[in-house]
């Protein structure tokens, strides 16, 4: 960029970075798709959907954090008020002045804590105190650094525009900060005194804002990851702080990842006796995930869906690897992007109204790709021949059908989730949890296939048939609650039926008293087992007895129970069919779990191994294609790697070089009988050395002092 200005100077050109950036992404969207015109629309849909999801998750996490943060804030306020009063009574004079400390247990995934701490800082600054210092272990290696950070954060954050003048008046105030030696709490003390005095003097602009603030706002120092701090540094810092606690209203917040007992491991008694520790425990991360899944996945509000395998990948990364809700949501975002990027028909993946609108605007090409869909072909095959012809040739008719099918899909989702929840309430308390303890397990099961054909479902049903009345009624009542807010017509019908059932259960007690009188006394079984029998016989008789007992007489309750369960399994059959059975399901469901796994759970070691043992896989060069292992023409490092696999723990460099030279000579097509076949020339030598050092860089070998001219292998196994 240029300016027509003659004078020298600095000119700021504010680039419209934001706009351009979004354009880039949109362009990327259109480039990567095979020339279809709707890429921009898809990008917009994707963006909107993501924004909605993001807003929802943020709200959700705020809610989840609220409880613990509220407790924390209350604690800080309370401590702050005790600082204020500084009562002259006997007890407070006698008590050792401890530093109030909140121990915040947040779970093992440390990166996830960022958000919690961020909102904590914001809340503190809004409502309690402007003096908050947030420390991470990695920036506080030594006491000096720690001190520097604390002063920087506290005094730096407080420097706002209107205070720069004050500093200009008294340069002594800013000067010591530049000098590393002056980073002491004494400096902080002076600064704090000056600060509080200033805000107390009336007539200032800021005094109105300060009125509801406490006179001496506390200084809160947050240690994000207590475990990672150097214990010595932490101890010294606490010792120093305790010397100043009379003058400075200091407070600590410890972010703890493991368990509160780490405080006792990190700090000796002499130091921890200076603290007054209160414990705050956050929600466990599995519960957190359950809530997120409940709000984001198990709802028809978002048209974008994951199929069973993808969901399984995301959940297992969470449970097996990181316990990170943030990563889970990131995975969801990735799936969303991938879906809109790779599936041209994702243009139909949106709210009901837009969906219909977009369906009417489908081009011929779009309709063709709809016809390609496996689920749609299945649907066509089920139609009458005339209909089939119409669907495949008449675009208008096709559009109408599409709309109908899409509406059907929408309805399917509306019914699917309430029934899923109902089934979960019935089964989540069964012994051994045949259908899973968490609803996500049941959900995945339902996504994967017909749930009613599964063995687990059968055993769950069998257990349900033995359920006591109270539990059954309780579960049914809970289902009623779940179904009540549903607006779809079918769900309303279901609700009415359920209520009728519940009525019957209630009236059962009345009818029971009447029937009780004429009920036969069941003869006690067991007399038939008296005589001696073998095991087989015994089993047989027991089975028979079981049969007879069941068929003999069913109480009113049992009949009703069976009725209820029949009703339930009817619902399951009609509403919990897997999405694959729905025509056009591909529009909403993202299904390539391998892509997701490759992106989220990378296997660098396997990739390197693949690259070295079969270079064709990445290079796609036909020359490299061989039946077994590595061809002679492969890159040097592959040959060297292949050769090194044949060696033991220590590799003789010269032998290795010889072998390499032989292989390379063969690749050059030299006559095996000629004299310089397999001879080491300078070029080969250099290539070999380069390849070996590359292998060393990749961590396959290292130099060793055990034997001269040898290197040690760092991997084991071979060919």
């Amino acid at each position: 960029m240029s300016t027509s200005s003659v004078s020298k100077g600095c000119f700021v050109f504010k680039p419209s970075a934001k706009k351009r950036k979004t354009c880039d992404v949109a362009d990327y969207f259109s480039h990567s798709c095979d020339g279809s015109d709707n890429s921009r629309l898809r990008y917009k849909l994707c963006q909107d959907l993501w924004d909605a999801i993001k807003a929802d998750t943020e709200k959700l996490q705020e809610e989840l954090n609220r409880k613990i943060l509220d407790g924390l804030l209350q604690f800080i306020r309370k401590c702050c008020s005790t600082f204020q009063h500084n009562a002259d009574d006997w007890v407070s004079r006698m008590r050792a002045s401890e530093i109030p400390t909140a121990a915040l247990v947040l779970g093992v995934n440390v990166p996830d804590h960022d958000m919690t701490f961020q909102s904590l800082c914001e809340l503190l600054q809004q409502s309690v105190t402007p003096h908050v210092a947030f420390l991470q272990a990695k920036e506080c290696g030594a006491l000096k650094n720690l001190m520097q950070r604390v002063l920087e954060r506290l005094m730096g954050t407080a420097v706002s525009v209107d205070e720069e003048e004050d500093e200009a008046e008294q340069p002594g105030g800013t000067q010591p900060r530049q000098k590393g030696a002056h980073c002491t709490l004494a400096t902080l003390c002076e600064w704090y005194e000056c600060k509080t005095k200033k805000s107390n003097t009336p007539g200032k602009k800021r005094s109105s804002a300060n009125e509801d603030e406490p006179q001496r706002p506390p200084i809160v120092i947050i240690f994000k990851d207590l475990e990672a701090f150097n214990p010595r540094v932490l101890q010294d810092f606490i010792l120093i702080c305790s010397r100043y606690v009379e003058q400075l209203p200091l407070m600590f917040v410890f972010g703890i990842a493991t368990s509160p007992s780490t405080i006792q491991h990190v700090l000796p008694h002499s130091v921890s006796s200076l603290l007054c520790i209160e414990l705050f425990q956050s929600l466990s991360c599995t519960l957190h995930l359950a809530t997120v899944i409940d709000k984001l996945i198990l709802t028809h509000h978002f048209p974008f869906k994951l199929n069973g395998k993808v969901l399984q990948v995301l959940v297992s990364i969470f449970l097996y690897h990181d316990f990170s809700v943030r990563n889970f949501i990131k995975g969801l975002k990735l799936a969303l992007l991938e879906h809109f990027l790779s599936q041209p028909l994702s243009i139909l993946c949106c709210g009901k109204k837009e969906m219909v609108g977009n369906a009417t605007q489908l081009s011929h090409q779009g309709l063709e790709s709809v016809r390609q869909l496996a689920s749609f072909r299945r649907y066509v095959e089920q139609q009458k021949p005339q209909e089939q012809v119409d669907l495949l040739t008449n675009d208008e008719h096709m559009k109408e059908t599409c709309k109908k099918l899409l509406k059907g899909l929408h309805k399917y989702h509306k019914n699917f989730y309430p029934i899923l929840r109902c089934l979960h309430t019935l089964t989540n308390a069964l012994p051994k949890y045949p259908l899973g303890k968490q609803i996500r397990e049941l959900h995945i099961m339902c996504l994967e296939g017909n749930v009613w054909e599964k063995e687990e479902y059968q055993s769950a049903m069998q257990l349900l048939r033995m359920l006591a009345k109270e539990e059954l009624v309780k579960a049914l009542k809970h289902s009623e609650e779940i179904l009540t807010p549903c607006k779809s017509k079918k769900m309303k019908d279901v609700l009415v039926q359920l209520q009728q059932l519940l009525d019957k259960f209630e009236h059962l007690d009345e009818t029971k008293t009447e029937t009780a009188a004429n009920e036969d006394v069941i003869t006690s079984p067991g007399k038939s087992i008296q005589k001696k029998t073998d095991l087989f016989q015994l089993q047989k008789t027991l089975l028979e007895m079981k049969e007879t007992r069941r068929t003999k007489k069913m109480s009113q309750f049992e009949i009703l129970r069976n009725e209820a369960l029949e009703f339930m399994s009817g619902l399951v059959r009609s509403y919990l069919a897997p999405p694959e059975t729905q025509p056009l399901y591909e529009v909403c469901y993202y299904s390539s779990s391998t892509v997701l796994r490759r992106h989220l759970n990378a296997t660098p070691r396997t990739s390197i191994q693949t690259a070295l043992s079969s270079p064709y896989h990445y290079l796609q060069n036909d020359k490299l294609l061989t039946e077994d292992g590595v061809s002679n023409a492969a890159p040097d490092i592959c040959i060297v790697h292949k050769l090194h696999l044949e060696c033991g723990r220590l590799i003789n460099l010269y032998d290795w070089l010889e072998a390499y030279a032989t292989v390379v000579s063969a690749a050059e097509g030299k006559d095996p009988d000629s004299e310089d076949y397999g001879k080491v020339d300078e070029l080969k030598h250099a290539r070999f050395i380069q390849a070996v050092s590359e292998l060393e860089f990749l961590g396959f070998i290292k130099s060793t002092k055990q034997k001269t001219d040898h290197v040690a292998r760092l991997t084991w196994g071979g060919c």
Binding site: V91, G107, D225, S273, L279, D322, K702
Partner: protein
């Protein structure tokens, strides 16, 4: 003990006042005073005071110096992250704020000495100047020449200055290899039970009689004297528990003279305090709340009661593998993790030193390879060696469940140690249905 200090050169009134302020430490104060000599006399260059925590070292020194109005500078080593900071503090206290600006950035010892000598003639003192250095044991970690210089600072500066070092450890631990000027040593012994009784009884609650408070202190010491002789801590505990002690008096159930009943009331309470608030399992605020609410014991969970840690599935197995690698001899891995290992008799198989329990010896370091090899054989499903498996190892290190040994080369076969206890790992392995005891060599 004759509770009276006497020394020529000081005002008798003041000395009397000082000795009032230093109960049970008059002897030490007297010795110190005679070492210091009269204000105008040159004093011994360095004095080393040592004794356990809260035996009144700082208190005696600061009371003497302040009450007798002697020029002095007090610095605590824990605050001085660099020597420069210490010099600055000393100069500030002795010569006023102007001198500190004379010090260059990151001043050296010679800078300090130079400026001190510059300032000396400007403000000549006919009294001995004192430099008091608290927590002197930290001097050993600072520059090697700092301690020897401080010990003979008088010679270097050519001024009447005395350095008083306060430390919790004995002088023998200080003496540098190269030798140095020997300071005069003065030991502060622990307060005896009688001393503690006397000192603590001085903080009388304004609304109760001195006898009652003294009786309370007597009971308190009866419980706590065996575990804690720290005056500060005892005073803190007294403050926390006195209200409970007075409760029956307030309610009018018991008279002040009925000490036995009061004792019966407070004793179990104090015992509970010893297990909770003294160990900081329960904070003092929570303890006070607990007293107000009159809850039954056990309602409050201490800090160490929350020992449970939630970990991802593979992290648990990694930790288990690390524990096995740390506590089993490497040669026994074949026996535990290979299917057809044959039978190995424990006694014949091992060398002599391996026969002692590994749990008594503590965790041993192991390389990453071994950890992964055990991990793959312990975990029940096939696990791909993904990046997140490796990152889990490093996050276990940051959580301090594993410790990494030697930071020099991360690429070159790093070594680890498992840092968790048997109970912890048993709880972890129970959650994944893994019977760890079967795999531990010590429990064969």
């Amino acid at each position: 003990m004759a509770a009276c200090l006497q020394h020529t050169g000081y005002d008798q009134e003041r000395l009397l006042h000082v000795s009032d302020k230093l109960p049970c430490r008059v002897f030490q104060a007297g010795t110190l005073l005679s070492l210091m000599g009269e204000p105008s006399q040159y004093s011994y260059p360095s004095i080393f005071l040592y004794g356990h925590r809260s035996t009144g070292k700082s208190h005696v020194v600061s009371t003497l110096l302040q009450e007798l109005e002697l020029p002095h500078a007090t610095v605590s080593c824990v605050e001085c992250v660099s020597a420069g900071l210490m010099f600055e503090r000393v100069l500030l206290a002795l010569f006023g704020p102007d001198t500190t600006s004379l010090l260059p950035r990151s001043p050296s010892l010679s800078d300090f000495v130079r400026i001190y000598r510059q300032q000396c003639p400007q403000s000549p003192a006919n009294q001995t100047r004192f430099i008091v250095i608290e927590k002197a044991e930290l001097l050993r970690d600072m520059d090697a020449n700092l301690l020897p210089v401080l010990l003979r600072l008088q010679e270097l500066i050519e001024d009447n200055v005395t350095v008083i070092l306060l430390s919790e450890i004995v002088w023998d631990q200080f003496r540098p290899n190269t030798g140095c000027f020997e300071p005069l040593l003065l030991h502060f012994p622990d307060y005896s039970k009688g001393d503690l009784q006397q000192i603590l009884s001085q903080d009388i609650h304004p609304s109760y009689s001195a006898e009652l408070y003294s009786a309370f202190i007597n009971i308190l010491l009866g419980v706590f004297y065996s575990v804690c002789r720290d005056l500060r801590e005892l005073r803190h505990l007294a403050a926390l528990n006195f209200s409970k002690f007075c409760e029956p008096l307030k309610e009018g159930k018991v008279k002040e003279s009925d000490t036995h009943k009061l004792w019966r009331n407070i004793e179990p309470h104090l015992k509970k305090a010893m297990q909770t608030v003294y160990l900081r399992e329960v904070s003092s605020v929570q303890w006070e709340e607990l007293q107000m609410e009159e809850k039954e014991s056990g309602a409050m969970k201490g800090l160490s009661a929350h020992a449970h840690v939630e970990l991802p599935y593979y992290s648990k197995f990694l930790l288990i593998a690390a524990y096995l690698a740390s506590y089993n001899p490497a040669r026994t891995d074949r026996r535990f993790f290979l299917k057809h290992h044959g039978k190995i008799r424990k006694t014949n198989f091992l060398k002599k030193h391996e026969k002692t329990s590994n749990h008594l010896l503590g965790p041993k370091p192991f390389p990453l390879d071994r950890l992964l090899a055990i991990f793959y054989s312990v975990v029940d499903s096939r696990v791909a060696p993904t990046a997140s498996i490796f990152s889990q190892i490093s996050s276990l290190v940051t959580l301090q469940l594993l410790t990494q040994l030697g930071h020099d080369d991360q690429l070159d076969a790093p070594k680890y140690k498992c840092a968790v206890a048997l109970d912890f790992i048993r709880a972890i392995s129970r959650t994944v249905n893994f019977d760890i005891v079967k795999y531990l060599y010590d429990f064969l």
